[in-house]
Symmetry: C2
Subunit: 134 residues, 2 copies
């Protein structure tokens, strides 16, 4: 290995390290690339649904992330907005696909259909909006 | 530079490269850290609002990302869901803060208030749900 090769290797190491930290910072800060297919699902549960039944739904929704390959990520949370504009909706799930084809695999998927069967009788209201991020 | 140093440098380059690609894949795949404060805002515009007025709102919302320090990211898109469960809502904006304090700076911020003044008369419906991602 000559001096030029050594120099190249060292420079590469430095540049690569810079890229690692820039990208890690970006990812941990929640900054995202554009063009992702976002599937936003919001629920209001029926009044007679128990806390345990709600938790079961939350868990089952998150578990779809391990069952359906086209799901890049699924996250959720319960409404904490102080604005009072949630129209009774208490839960928001954000499912991310690479593109619309990801959703087209997901919707008819057996695991998703089983989830729908579980959740549907428990819901007073469901709102779904999908968009390609820009 | 001795042989050990050269070897270390090369190994470092290889490991760093692996980290770069793993992290880049993760970021571009839209995988995210948890515990972020998500502010989900959905609009339905009044029927008499023109395409230009809609675009002005979209642009103004995205511009808040440069005007309010606590915004980590803001993205949006128009509804493309085939499910027909969007309840008339056509636009979804996803604003990300580190925590609830981020929202508390944002809501009363002059730039946000100006945006509200612009958009409010143009809206038939607005739904807002905030959650801490898990």
């Amino acid at each position: 290995m000559n001096k030029t090769a050594v120099l190249k290797s060292v420079l590469f190491g430095i540049i690569a390290t810079g890229m690692v930290f820039t990208t890690m910072e970006s990812a941990s800060a929640g900054k995202k690339v554009r063009g992702l297919y976002r599937h936003v699902v919001m629920f209001q549960f029926n009044e007679d649904v128990t806390d345990e039944q709600v938790k079961e739904v939350e868990k089952a929704f998150l578990a779809l992330g391990d069952k359906i390959d086209t799901i890049i990520d699924v996250e959720f949370g319960t409404n904490v907005s102080p604005e009072g504009l949630n129209e009774g909706l208490t839960h928001c799930f954000l499912v991310t696909f690479k593109d619309k084809k990801g959703l087209e695999v997901y919707l008819p998927h057996k695991a998703h259909q089983q989830f729908v069967d579980l959740v549907k009788p428990r819901l007073a209201k469901v709102v779904v909006i999908d968009y390609v991020s820009r």
